[in-house]
């Protein structure tokens, strides 16, 4: 039995679900928005056991051999946008979510990925340090509440970008010439600035011993938001591939999305590791090798 947990309109989890259905793999897809329909009854006595049930299904968690979770922030879901923490439906849903996270952490099953393994992404500079320890280059980085430090940094590296350091999503932006007034705001919260690495982006998906690498051609500092982005499948140099495997393993991730950039002088830099990659953006819809590999991984015992 495979359990999928996420949103029914989420591309990555849907593609895996489609393949599992076609292969007749027993699968329970728990739509995050339908959490109120489910009851989770769990006992921990050294081993974890229990039942996830709804009107339509009942699954013994001891029979689940794989879990793929891609939950979204509950507060961001449309149905809960207007709720507060005193709302009964919200409370029950939050409790169910908490139990799903707990079970994902302690389940005797293949889990993509355990919540604790995904944790490094909650502090990007911390993760950057782990990336560096795997032998990958990282851009020069400062974190500061001093506008003058930022100006000095920009003077040294000429082109500088800034972005969020938590798991809150933000658009990567380049610090421009006319940012002096905005720079004063760094006093309110430590902010990360990085040297801009001019080059070509790569997204590398590691699934245990498999690698799927894509080259991304875009005119924007953040290709996710550009209209001219093109993606093509590539083979990485073997030493870079090895470091990506090591990085994913060291972070405890069975499946990861690693952001690399090759600079114009040929150096490889790593920016970030996504522990729950939205891989469909990089996958050719007609080929779908990552979805198939994921489905295969989840069905192996």
């Amino acid at each position: 039995m495979v359990v999928l947990w996420g949103l029914s309109d989420d591309g990555p989890i849907n593609r895996v679900n489609d393949i599992l259905q076609r292969k007749n793999v027993p699968t329970l897809f728990i739509d995050q928005q339908d959490a109120l329909e489910y009851t989770f009854d769990m006992t921990f006595d050294g081993d974890v056991s229990g039942v996830i049930s709804s009107l339509y299904s009942s699954v013994r968690i001891e029979d689940v051999h794989a879990i793929y979770l891609r939950p979204y922030d509950l507060c961001q879901l449309g149905i809960f946008e207007q709720c507060d923490s005193t709302d009964e439906d919200w409370t029950r849903t939050a409790y169910f979510e908490d139990m799903m996270f707990l079970w994902s952490e302690i389940a005797n099953a293949r889990v993509i990925n355990r919540p604790s393994s995904a944790g490094s992404n909650a502090s990007k500079p911390y993760q950057l340090e782990l990336i560096r320890q795997c032998g990958l280059n990282v851009p020069a980085t400062i974190l500061t509440t001093s506008p003058q430090r930022v100006k000095d940094f920009r003077q040294k590296y000429r082109r500088v970008i800034y972005k969020s350091i938590s798991s809150q999503r933000s658009i990567v932006a380049e610090l421009g010439d006319n940012n002096d007034e905005r720079l004063k705001d760094v006093v309110w919260c430590p902010t990360q600035f990085q040297e801009y690495i001019n080059g070509t982006d790569y997204r590398v998906h590691i699934l245990e011993d498999k690698v799927f690498a894509s080259r991304i051609l875009s005119s924007s500092a953040d290709y996710r938001y550009a209209i001219d982005t093109q993606i093509e499948s590539v083979t990485l140099p073997s030493n870079i591939e090895e470091k990506c495997f090591l990085l994913s393993k060291n972070l405890g991730l069975h499946f990861s999305g690693i952001d690399l950039r090759q600079s114009q002088d040929g150096e490889w830099y790593c920016f970030e590791v996504n522990p729950s990659p939205g891989y469909t953006y990089f996958e050719d819809p007609s080929n779908r090798p990552i979805s198939h590999a994921l489905a295969e991984y989840l069905t192996q015992s």
Partner: protein, 232 residues
């Protein structure tokens, strides 16, 4: 200098810092994170500057950190406008996680993702860790649409609570001495310097009840041990 990271409203932390031997401790509050002066250079972390109680310190001046808040909450962000608070709490927590990780001095405790005071373990994860070091546990039962209880909870007499507190691989308080060695193993497994474990005794049987990674600065034994720990 020992840094004590605490809520601005934590009077116990303020008293503990005020009474620190040789005045060698200072408070770090969320207010300090909205103060000019912080500077971390990831290529050369020893040149980094932190701000505590409004004053700047080189990270090389720090002899220890005691963390009393697991994460930053919006209610602490007096200086930040309301719509920005959710974002800023996440950013500041992420920042401190990194800063506490790169420091070379002793930390009580080492942060983990989502928790600046130690491992972000739920009760069941503590149970699992207890089981690994052979500490006695009682089965625990959760139901999302109903009551959550320990199983077989038919004893209505309040259980007797026994506490063991360890700091830096040393037992500083123990009301269950036969379990001291196993609690030290548990602290090692959890990778924490400070750990307070309570056990409940029911019908002559003792079992794990709770785990706490945040030193109670109102406990004279804990405070004395902390003072001594950093003195050494």
């Amino acid at each position: 200098m020992v840094i004590v990271f605490a809520s601005q409203l934590d009077e116990m932390a303020q008293r503990a810092v005020a009474g620190w031997p040789k005045s060698r401790a200072t408070l770090l509050t969320v207010d300090d994170l909205s103060t000019e002066g912080w500077f971390i250079n990831s290529n050369d972390v020893n040149k980094s500057i932190i701000v505590a109680s409004g004053k700047q310190y080189s990270v090389t001046e720090l002899s220890g950190v005691v963390t009393l808040m697991p994460y930053i909450v919006e209610q602490e962000l007096f200086k930040i406008e309301e719509p920005d608070r959710r974002y800023v709490t996440a950013e500041m927590t992420a920042f401190l996680h990194y800063v506490f990780t790169i420091l070379q001095c002793p930390l009580i405790n080492k942060p983990s993702a989502y928790n600046l005071t130690g491992p972000n373990w739920r009760f069941e994860e503590w149970l699992r860790a207890c089981q690994r070091v052979s500490l006695p546990i009682k089965p625990y039962h959760h139901v999302t649409h109903g009551e959550t209880n320990s199983t077989n909870n038919t004893n209505f007499d309040p259980p007797e609570i026994r506490t063991i507190i360890v700091l830096s691989n040393r037992v500083i308080v123990s009301h269950a001495e036969t379990l001291n060695a196993k609690v030290l193993q548990l602290a090692k497994l959890a990778a924490v310097q400070f750990l307070e474990i309570t056990f409940a005794e029911e019908n002559g049987q003792i079992f794990f009840c709770s785990a706490n990674c945040i030193p109670n600065m109102n406990n004279p034994q804990v405070l004395a041990a902390l003072y001594e720990n950093f003195e050494n």
